[in-house]
Structure formats: structure tokens, C-alpha cells
Symmetry: C2
């Protein structure tokens, strides 16, 4: 007997014909709905298996068009010069929106001030009023975020976290990098490029550091590489909550006086272009500089040779995938993967042109 060899052109109509039932009944079996006799169900299932039936996704979605709109909410930091990074995830979210609004998905955006816990809490309150069917956010403030996840679980609202995870908490879905290994990778690059045991600087430049899991874990990964490989380079932490150019420069300048031979600086977030400017002005162009994120300022410094490596984790795609994940779950009951780890990309001045966020 000849194999149907993956042709599977057969649809519900064909199945119905073969089973001698109506397509409504076939539909019931396909979707495991109640109200079909065991016998009929079995017969239909057998034919489905035999035919290797694959639903036509197009038709499926089209038929669902009439269903009421599904409401999603996103909660991200607002975008300022200092937080330009957040433009990318938002772009991805918008791209997803355009693709799925045809299916009656509406996305409402909420923004908070990254340096202000209050503002986060305020937006959470607004979101709760909105009563979304799904939620995407980034857990900048651990306590508030944990509460939000719990409340979402209680309300039975699927929840996606992007960019950084909430460790020891698995009530939701995380889409973003393995932050520890991102730091670990940065250390590898430094160790490859720096010969000898010269000191290496780890620069944490953020208004909030102690609570910032993303920064702490990156530094931890970075340091772990050096200890794992028994490297003797002194690792100097440089923390500053004053993130403006002047403050960073004066602090750096002091550090350089103390440690003249600093060979490399790793900036644990996207503020690396500030350091680039400082190094240029301090005449320290030979210091290896690496940091995070494909912001326009960073790319500009990369282009000019002031930054050597940028580590990026496809923020645009994080946003895009976050929304489509919720969509698939809400519309097609597709199960949500617990974790989707993004690639950790290494960008230099010679491959950035081809990079896609």
C-alpha cells in the first residue's frame, strides 16, 4: 500500500466523510471536547492518525476572528536617553501587535520610572483595573514583581517576564538571557584580550544597584570566570549611583590614579558609552572596553573604536516573542514554555552592521 508520505492534504471534510459523521463532530474530537460517544471518538481519532491530519492554521485563525478582543498589558520602563535600551523590546512588542491585531488582540502599554518603585506600584494598580487577559513585564523591583506574579497567578492571567528573571520563582515564563553566563562570557573575552595579570574594572553604573538582580548576577558571572580559571587579575568593583558623565569621569579618574595599569573595563549595563567618552577624554584609549546593549550611542562608540565589544541579547525579539507567546497561549491554548533563553551575541565594530536585534 502506498504511503500518504506526509501529504496530509486531508481536512476535516475528508475525515468526516471517511468516518461518516459531520465535520462538527470531527471538530469536537480534534479539540477534545465533550459530547462525543466513545465509539465515534475512537473511529474519528483513528482516521485522524491515519491521515496524519494537520489543521490548517490559517483557516483556524480566520474562523476565530469573531471572538471578542483579547486584552494584553505590558509594563516596561519608560524610554529616556538613559534608558534607550527599552526602545528595542517595545519595538518588538509593536511588531507583534501589528501581526496579531487582526485576531482581535489589543495591547495596552504601561510605563514606569526605572528609578522609582512608587511609579511601578502605581502602574501595577492601573493594570489591575484594566484587567488584562495576559501580562508582559520586566521585574525591575523584585518585591513588587513577585507580588504581581502571584496576583496574576491567582487571577489566572498568564504572565511573561523579559530581560531579567526573578530567581527562585517559577510561577511565570521568562524570555531573556542567562544573565550569569552573559557575565561569564564577557569575562572570557576579557581574559582572551588581556595578557598578564593587570587589574580589570567592573563598572556598575545605575541609580539602584543593590536590588538590581541583573547587575549583581552579571558581576557574579564575570567574577566566577576569573576564579574558575584561577586568573590572578585583580578585579575592582566600581559602583556609582551617580550616572551622569561628570560624576563617572571624576570617579574613574581617581581610580586610574590608584590603578594606572587597568587593562580592561566591563560595564554591566548599557551605560558603557558614558565610560567610552570618559576614557577618550582621559586619554585612556588603549583600555579594553566592553559592555551591554545595542543602543545608538553604544554603536556609535563601537564604530569609533572606543568600545571593543558589545554584548547583546536580542531585546527586540524578547518583546516580540513575549507577546506572541501570550497570544498563542490565549488563542490556541498553546502551553507556555517556562524559560526561553536568548542567544548572547558578541558585537564588534566589524559585525555590528549585520546585527539584528
Amino acid at each position: 500500500m502506498k504511503e500518504t508520505s506526509g501529504k496530509s492534504l486531508a481536512g476535516v471534510k475528508e475525515i468526516a466523510k471517511r468516518a461518516n459523521v459531520s465535520i462538527a463532530t470531527v471538530d469536537r474530537v480534534i479539540h477534545n471536547r465533550t459530547g462525543v460517544s466513545a465509539k465515534t471518538k475512537e473511529k474519528i481519532q483513528q482516521i485522524i492518525d491515519e491521515l496524519g491530519y494537520q489543521p490548517n492554521v490559517l483557516a483556524q485563525r480566520l474562523a476565530l476572528t469573531t471572538r471578542g478582543t483579547i486584552r494584553l498589558a505590558t509594563l516596561l520602563p519608560n524610554i529616556s536617553d538613559e534608558t534607550e535600551f527599552w526602545r528595542a523590546p517595545l519595538d518588538g512588542i509593536r511588531r507583534a501587535e501589528l501581526e496579531i491585531r487582526q485576531y482581535g488582540i489589543h495591547v495596552e502599554h504601561y510605563f514606569f520610572d526605572q528609578n522609582n518603585r512608587q511609579s511601578f506600584a502605581r502602574q501595577v494598580a492601573r493594570i489591575k483595573k484594566y484587567k488584562p487577559d495576559g501580562l508582559l513585564f520586566t521585574p525591575v523591583f523584585p518585591e513588587e514583581s513577585k507580588q504581581l506574579i502571584k496576583d496574576s497567578a491567582t487571577a489566572n492571567i498568564p504572565c511573561v517576564l523579559i530581560n531579567s528573571d526573578l530567581p527562585g520563582f517559577d510561577n511565570s515564563c521568562y524570555i531573556g538571557p542567562d544573565i550569569f553566563h552573559s557575565g561569564y562570557l564577557s569575562a572570557q573575552l576579557v581574559s582572551y584580550c588581556v595578557k598578564g595579570n593587570k587589574p580589570v574594572l567592573i563598572a556598575n553604573i545605575a541609580r539602584e544597584i543593590d536590588n538590581n538582580y541583573a547587575i549583581l548576577d552579571k558581576e557574579h558571572g564575570f567574577r566566577t570566570y576569573f576564579s574558575d580559571h584561577k586568573l590572578a587579575n585583580p578585579l575592582i568593583s566600581f559602583n556609582t549611583t551617580q550616572t551622569d558623565y561628570t560624576a563617572v569621569k571624576s570617579k574613574l579618574s581617581k581610580l586610574f590614579k590608584k590603578h594606572e595599569d587597568i587593562a580592561a573595563i566591563f560595564v554591566t549595563n548599557s551605560r558603557v558609552s558614558v565610560v567610552a567618552r570618559c576614557l577618550e577624554d582621559l586619554g585612556k584609549k588603549k583600555v579594553l572596553l566592553l559592555g551591554h546593549d545595542f543602543t545608538s550611542e553604544n554603536v556609535h562608540s563601537l564604530e569609533r573604536g572606543l568600545i571593543d565589544f558589545l554584548i547583546c541579547e536580542k531585546p527586540e525579539e524578547q518583546g516580540y516573542r513575549g507577546i506572541t507567546t501570550l497570544f498563542q497561549n490565549l488563542v490556541f491554548s498553546k502551553e507556555i514554555e517556562k524559560t526561553y533563553l536568548m542567544p548572547i551575541d558578541i558585537i564588534t565594530r566589524h559585525n555590528y552592521r549585520y546585527y539584528r536585534n
Copy 2:
């Protein structure tokens, strides 16, 4: 007046109603078909613009289901241990196939022996008999490939090239890396990691080298970086058409006797894991080793620390994108972009786990 603010839920039906015509006429205007009076056309167009009408892609495709099948042909090297690289593009092609076969697209695969021009020509002849509606291939043999592109143009068959381009030839579409800059980037990595003016080896390991544009251009990019940056490292070309372990090892061994202090080896294709084994057996583990492609053997050597960097250009996505490009062109008359340059990814043992081809 209130903005419709990108809602655009309106479809052909709504447009037809507002314009007082039938949906068939609206359809004609949307697709710029003939047989509509200038006046009607203008009126409809105005409403379309006003509403910011966006066609529902789902419905569009679904309605096209009945059209006869479209036949695509692919022509790629067959997959052996030595050419495992080609599995990835094929995987991508298969992934695309699964997605679009619902729209009546059929893909026929042809394979040739990378070391045998004859076999390429034979398959071209078979393809011509098949008379595909679209063609995807990789131009391993320049002369034959140019002829194939010309013939396709004559027959009005859209044509996509992947993995390497045919320079000075713009009758088709190229999806793949900027090879020159890929080599350039590799040189940057070497120059960052190698201190002093120690010699660097460029290893071309392939049955055919002189005609292999991908290899030649990569070496050219690599060398150009060193001259652009006035680096004094001696660059030694190491060409071998005997690609087996024993041959490579004995040749390498001789080279090392002549140049004991070789600091880095750049392998211009996926044969880098062979070199990795040689270095291990020759006790030359400290030499920086980089090369191309995410094959299982290469990844294994990367994991073990024998290879330092792998340069990859998303071969799976090249295949996938190649097929979907042809599909979009043939089904929706979407214009084909002349060139789509893939990212040039840098993979180390600490980020390969998160890489997606």
C-alpha cells in the same frame, strides 16, 4: 474629528459599502487590476487610504488555497561527514516547507557532490526538466552557476543564492554573509587575542580552493584587516586539497617545525575541527584556533576548549529565508530584495548553548 488611530478593522466589505460598489470591484482596485473606471477607482482608493486598509493576510492566503501547486527546486551539496555544514540550510528549507505546504507549495530537492563539477551539471539538467517555478541554490561552481542564473532569468524563474554570492552578477537574490567582512572580523578577533608579532596561519582545507570564491574572499578579508591596521604579524597561507586528518596533521607538523611560534590559526571553512584534533595531538593546545560553522564536531571541539571561536552565519535561517522569499514572490508578487546579509555571529564555549542557527 476623532482619529481612527490605526484601528483599521475595516475590510473589503466596509470599503465596498462606503464606495457603493461590490467587493469584487474593491478587490480589483486593491490589486491594481484592469477593468475599473478611473472614477470608481479613485473613489475606492480614497476610501482605502482613509481607512488605512490592511488586507487580512490569513484570509488572503486561505482564499488562494485552490490555486495549482507551485513547484520549487533546491540544489545543494549532499551531506556527508565532511559537508555536515549543509544539513543546516536543508533543515531551514524543510522548516519553511512545512509552513507553506498548506498553500500548495512543493519543494523538490537536488543534491550534488561538492567536489565534482559534473554532478552539479547533471543535477542542473534534471532541474531543467522538472521546470520549477522558483529555484534556490548555492553557487559552488562559478561558471555553471552563472549559466544557471542566466537561464533562469530567461525562463523567468526567480532565483535565490545562499551561503556565498557570485560577485559582479546581479541577476538574482543573495541571502548569506558578507564574506569579505566575515574574514575581516575573524582577523579582528585574532589581533585582539594575539599579542606581539607572532605568525598567524590561514588554513584553506578543501578539495577545490582556486575556484572557491567563499574561501578566497574570506582569506582576502582576513589579510586586509592586518594590512589596514599595519600589523606586522607574518601571515602564512596553508593550502591543502587533501582534507583528511592524516594529511592535514603531517603538513601542519612540518609547518610548526618551520614556524615554532605560530600563535593563531584561522581555518577558512568548517574543517576547523580537523585542525583542532591535530593541534591536540601535536601538543599545541595554546595556539588560538578559530574557524567556521556550527557543526556538531566543531561544537564538540569548542566545548573541549580546542577551538576558541566559531564564526557562524545562521545557515538554517538562510535556507528558511530563501524558501519563504521565493514563496512570497510567487504567491504574493512580493518583490525580492537583491541582497539580504546575514549576521556574522561569534560563538565561544560560553555562549554556544544559546545559539540558534
